[in-house]
């Protein structure tokens, strides 16, 4: 399917925080309570629409385990957006955010949009990290922040789409060099030479599910 832009995303965070479940919910609209540990990296993709333009999100879901860290680091490069995920019911996953962020900043391009996600918001009774703490961390480090639930699908669409909106805005502002694919943005065949018209950001309606 033709698209105006392709944005490459990467999902990072500790093991078990729900990265793969977020991807599955976004691409397939389903939740799998028991999920195999991710090895290396898995790919997912979905088309969305922003400002009337078809945008393909190519999402790289990485392994959270420390033993894979050296592998996953190599995937930061060339990502336009990152979802940095922690589990609101596990304080340690929040405490590790700084390390993840340092890794991401060190190995990615400086303009990469990072969305901080506090996942498992449906487990309110087991919450160990307050929403305000997530907001404060995001504010301090210049990130966007949302709490999500891959189980109930709460805010999952918004997390992916809002990140895309931010990237799209940066394209409009000329922050991203869209001709440099190292920035994680690829111009689609339908866009051709008439790319990068102005136009505001009028929301990101989903354009059908499916994958690839």
């Amino acid at each position: 399917m033709a698209y105006a832009y392709l944005f490459k995303y990467i999902i990072i965070g500790d093991t078990g925080v729900g990265k793969s479940c977020l991807l599955l919910q976004f691409t397939d609209k389903r939740f799998q309570p028991v999920h195999d540990l991710t090895i290396g990296v898995e790919f997912g993709a979905r088309m969305i629409t922003i400002d009337g333009k078809q945008i393909k999100l190519q999402i790289w879901d990485t392994a959270g385990q420390e033993s894979f860290r050296s592998i996953t680091r190599s995937y930061y490069r060339g990502a336009a957006g990152a979802l940095l995920v922690y589990d609101i019911t596990r304080r340690d996953t929040f405490n590790h955010l700084t390390t993840w962020l340092e890794d991401a900043r060190q190995h990615s391009n400086s303009n990469m949009v990072i969305m901080l996600i506090g996942n498992k918001s449906d487990l309110e009774s087991r919450r160990e990290v307050k929403k305000e703490e997530g907001e404060a961390f995001a504010r301090e480090h210049g990130l966007i922040f949302m709490e999500t639930s891959a189980k109930t699908a709460s805010n999952v669409e918004e997390a992916f789409i809002n990140t895309a909106k931010e990237i799209y805005e940066k394209i409009q502002e000329g922050v991203f060099d869209i001709n440099n694919e190292a920035n994680g943005i690829k111009i689609g065949p339908q866009h051709g030479a008439t790319n990068a018209t102005h136009a505001g950001n009028q929301g990101g309606q989903q354009a059908g599910g499916g994958c690839c």
Binding site: L6, V41, E42, F43, K56, F68, I71, C211, C212
Partner: protein, 290 residues
């Protein structure tokens, strides 16, 4: 200057590997596409498999033992190996992709009482999850032998440590076995034994692979999965828990034909199975032998 045997020109006709569906297949096309642009320049050896339920949880299984997806179609998977860098001596990346086949492509998969699995790969990944993969029926048996050959190569390495056809080798890192014909090609210098001729095997395979390209052209990826180095793979012989499904057809000493392996494993030494090769990839160290 004498041309090194076994090396192929940069521009060439599609080789038998393409016809067999193990080269330039769907997975190769996907990862080399502009969208992914992964491992460009590296060859990809790939095949289609049907996932069978042994050891997998939550399977939906037909009477023939084939795992099916929620739509009742066989759970198909493409397995491929490639290198992160083209000049690496051995593959170091395993790729797995779920595929949706069109209805009706697999005439026997869902047929009750179908013939039991005769060739089975047991793939154990880092997390201990085990996949049992049956080679897709459209592949000829030779392709399974190539996978077995790959396992052996990854376990024991090769005598020649590059697969990049652009690199011209003028010497071999291990002593050559004396040959009656100094001009012998890699194929003809393989030891003649009770094993089937590689060329004959490949020719037979080519004759039975006519429908493969059609199948490849109609398949669609439902999700793309790439899994990197820490993987175990084994043929069915090493799986003690499922002996009833296994009829071993493993020929351990069948070398790949140079024409097929031109960009994968170059000019392997016929005695490699007897020698300690200098290099084995990290991927190979985790492979289980037959």
């Amino acid at each position: 200057m004498r041309k090194t045997k076994g090396l192929s020109p940069v521009v060439r006709e599609p080789g038998p590997g393409v016809k067999l569906g193990v080269e330039d297949g769907l997975l190769c096309q996907l990862i080399h596409s502009p969208e992914f642009n992964l491992f460009s320049g590296s060859a990809v050896f790939e095949s289609n498999f049907i996932q069978v339920p042994l050891g997998s949880r939550g399977s939906c299984v037909t009477k023939s033992g084939t795992r099916v997806d929620i739509c009742g179609r066989p759970a198909a998977m493409i397995l491929g190996v490639t290198s992160s860098v083209p000049s690496l001596p051995l593959p170091n990346v395993l790729l797995m992709a779920n595929v949706t086949w069109p209805h009706g492509h697999c005439s026997t998969c869902n047929k009750p009482g179908a013939v039991p699995v005769i060739t089975l790969n047991r793939l154990r990944i880092f997390t201990e999850k085990i996949y049992y993969l049956r080679l897709h029926e459209k592949h000829p048996e030779a392709v399974f032998q190539f996978w077995i050959r790959l396992v052996k190569i990854l376990q024991h390495g090769l005598s020649i440590t590059t697969k990049d056809p652009r690199i011209q080798f003028t010497h071999c890192l291990v002593p050559k076995r004396p040959s009656s014909s100094p001009e012998a090609t890699p194929e003809s210098s393989f030891p003649s034994s009770s094993q089937p001729s590689e060329t004959l095997m490949l020719l037979a395979a080519e004759q039975t692979s006519g429908s493969f390209s059609e199948l490849s052209g109609r398949a669609q990826f439902t999700a793309d999965r790439s899994i990197t180095p820490t993987i175990d793979i084994a043929d069915s012989n090493s799986c003690d828990s499922v002996p009833s499904l296994v009829a071993s057809q493993v020929h351990l000493n069948i070398p790949m034909r140079a024409a097929l392996s031109h960009s994968l494993w170059e000019q392997e030494d016929p005695d490699e199975h007897r020698m300690q090769a200098p290099v084995a990839s990290s991927l190979g160290q985790n492979f289980l032998g037959p």
